[in-house]
């Protein structure tokens, strides 16, 4: 289990400062790209709650990302004025409900069966949207307007402005990170982490572990829905591909590459994967080969991902501070 040591906190604050300053120097294209990455990070961080902390390897997590995005587009896409508070509340509660139903069935299984079941559910949702002309079918669905964030008729954030949208998503990313850190420090988180380590024993100590796994699944699904909501608001265009197993697989890869069970690792993993996808094609058309090589290297030589590397560096340089504590 990773404790967030002081050097790590300083590192995270530095990263946050960089993200805060970026739109002032970055071009419009890269501001948009980093916004997209941060939205994906919210999605992968929620997957880390399942994979890294609860021990549930969900291979269908993209379903909730897609459901969140589709809900916003279907329910509010035609409106001229979309009330942000209403649309967010409705989208998140319905995504949470979907996660509750899927989770209620899936957590009865474990291991490979859990993976297969979550995958099957995600594919079901994928084909539902893929084959429903009402919701755009395989062409996807457009949104006319973005949600308007107003409080007592005053506009707080203008989502049509790319800079505003960037800071809006950054605030959500920080909020989600702090929220998940909070529940992981609370009694609930202690039980989750123990379930991942040894579920049978945790049951024998008096915890109804399926309930804890289900609540974790619903929280993760709802946050994935939030990421979908933001993505739909950002691009105004949703296709069934958002729900596909390819997306779920990419998310797992980002979590593992970044370092699961750390919360900030998946964010780093998302940045690395998306930026590589952006840069590598400039050098060679066989960039997927290089990408695969990098992933194999990380999995073989950095078993705890990039976050694990950051931990070992910080422990080496700041070991006096951390003596007695184990990472």
């Amino acid at each position: 289990m990773h404790t967030v040591t002081r050097p790590i906190i300083i590192f995270l604050c530095l990263c946050l400062a960089l993200l805060l300053l970026f739109p002032m120097v970055g071009s419009a294209f890269y501001t948009g790209l980093v916004t997209k990455i941060m939205i994906l990070s919210i999605f992968t961080i929620s997957l880390d709650l399942l994979i890294g902390f609860t021990g549930l390897v969900s291979f269908g997590h993209a379903a909730f990302f897609g459901i969140g995005a589709y809900l916003l587009a279907i329910l509010f896409g035609d409106l001229e004025h979309i009330n942000y508070w209403w649309s967010l509340t409705l989208t998140l509660s319905l995504t949470g409900l979907a996660a509750l139903l899927v989770g209620w069935l899936c957590i009865r299984t474990s291991g490979i069966y859990f993976i297969m079941l979550t995958l099957a559910f995600a594919q079901m949702f994928f084909y539902f949207f893929f084959e429903s002309p009402r919701f755009g079918g395989d062409d996807g669905i457009f949104m006319m307007n973005k949600p308007e964030i107003t409080l007592a008729t005053r506009q707080l954030v203008d989502l049509d402005n790319e800079h505003d949208f960037y800071y809006f998503v950054l605030a959500w990313l920080v909020g989600v990170y702090l929220f998940l850190s909070m529940i992981l420090r609370a009694p609930f988180g202690h039980v989750l982490i123990a379930i991942k380590a040894n579920e049978q024993r945790v049951r024998a100590l008096g915890y109804s572990t399926p309930h804890y796994k289900l609540v974790s699944f619903v929280i993760a699904g709802t946050i994935a829905g939030l990421a979908g909501f933001l993505e739909a608001a950002h691009t105004s265009f949703i296709t069934p591909a958002y729900l596909g197993w390819h997306e779920s697989g990419m998310a797992i890869m980002m979590v593992i590459l970044g370092g699961m069970g750390t919360l900030f690792g998946p964010v780093i993993g998302t940045f690395i994967v998306v930026l590589l996808q952006d840069f590598l094609p400039n050098f060679t058309e066989h960039w997927k080969l290089i990408m695969g090589g990098i992933i194999i290297f990380v999995v073989l030589f950095l078993p705890n991902g990039i976050a694990g590397l950051i931990y070992s560096i910080s422990n080496r340089f700041f070991s006096r501070e951390n003596s007695g504590r184990e990472g």
């Binding site: 609930f188 202690h190 024993r201 024998a204 100590l205």
Partner: protein
């Protein structure tokens, strides 16, 4: 005769054609150490698994303080005050000793579905976890990662985790399994200490430990109860000698 804390009535468990537990009716008194002896495959661990809810019986009943707990699952059994330790060390190896006990101690909360305040602020949980570690002599190891400790210490932690839930009745499945002489003496001393205040149901192979600890002994053979009685009674029983002790002494000789 003192209060019966746990009672089984005609308890049976079949695995396919195998009768792992065969019509076992036992009574366990509060405040006593009740040991269950038997050769390998006699169904001792199956019995503990039935009592702790890991397995559901094929027929028969289990009553704890008069309440029917036959169908209770492990989490329920633990919640109503029956703790168990495992024969095969069953700890959280990547966690410190304190964190291992913490999970047990936290079960004092009505629910752990609490999302806001950090768990470390819960004084009550701290006290229980520390108390369990202290009882098992692991106070000075509280921050050591459990997986890096010696086998004997891990066995002690196994018991500490159970104690952290502050159970009324302790089910101990071979607490001395695989221990060296010195470690085994340490744990025996710990069990003696626990026996002063607690009710213990003890499965153990180590005869010396059983005879020195137990108030009552039940001998099981092939899933069925062979005889139950005081230590002296079991020592002198012809049936038990034939079924179990006799062989054992011949083997030893």
């Amino acid at each position: 005769m003192s209060e019966i804390i746990l009672r089984t009535e005609h308890l049976c468990k079949n695995f396919g054609g195998l009768k792992a537990t065969d019509d076992v009716s036992l009574e366990f008194e509060r405040g006593k150490v009740h040991a269950i002896l038997g050769p390998n495959g006699a169904g001792k661990t199956t019995l503990i698994n039935l009592l702790s809810g890991e397995l559901l019986p094929s027929s028969g009943r289990i009553l704890f303080k008069g309440y029917d707990i036959t169908d209770a699952r492990p989490e329920k059994v633990s919640r109503i005050g029956i703790g168990r330790s495992f024969q095969k060390t069953n700890i959280l190896p990547g966690f410190s000793c304190l964190q291992n006990c913490w999970i047990g101690a936290q079960s004092c909360l009505i629910t752990s579905m609490r999302f806001f305040r950090p768990a470390k602020h819960l004084r009550m949980v701290h006290r229980r976890a520390d108390h369990a570690l202290q009882l098992c002599g692991l106070s000075n190891k509280r921050n050591q990662i459990a997986g890096t400790m010696s086998y004997g210490e891990q066995r002690q932690l196994e018991i500490a985790m159970m104690l952290a839930t502050e159970p009324e009745l302790l089910l101990l499945d071979e607490p001395l399994a695989g221990m060296g002489t010195e470690e085994s003496q340490q744990v025996t001393a710990l069990l003696k200490e626990l026996a002063k205040e607690q009710t213990l149901i003890l499965i153990e192979h180590d005869m010396d430990a059983v005879f020195s600890l137990a108030d009552r002994i039940t001998v099981m053979v092939d899933g069925a109860e062979l005889e139950t009685g005081s230590v002296e009674q079991i020592r002198n029983s012809q049936a038990v000698q034939d079924a179990y002790l006799g062989h054992d002494e011949e083997d030893a000789a």
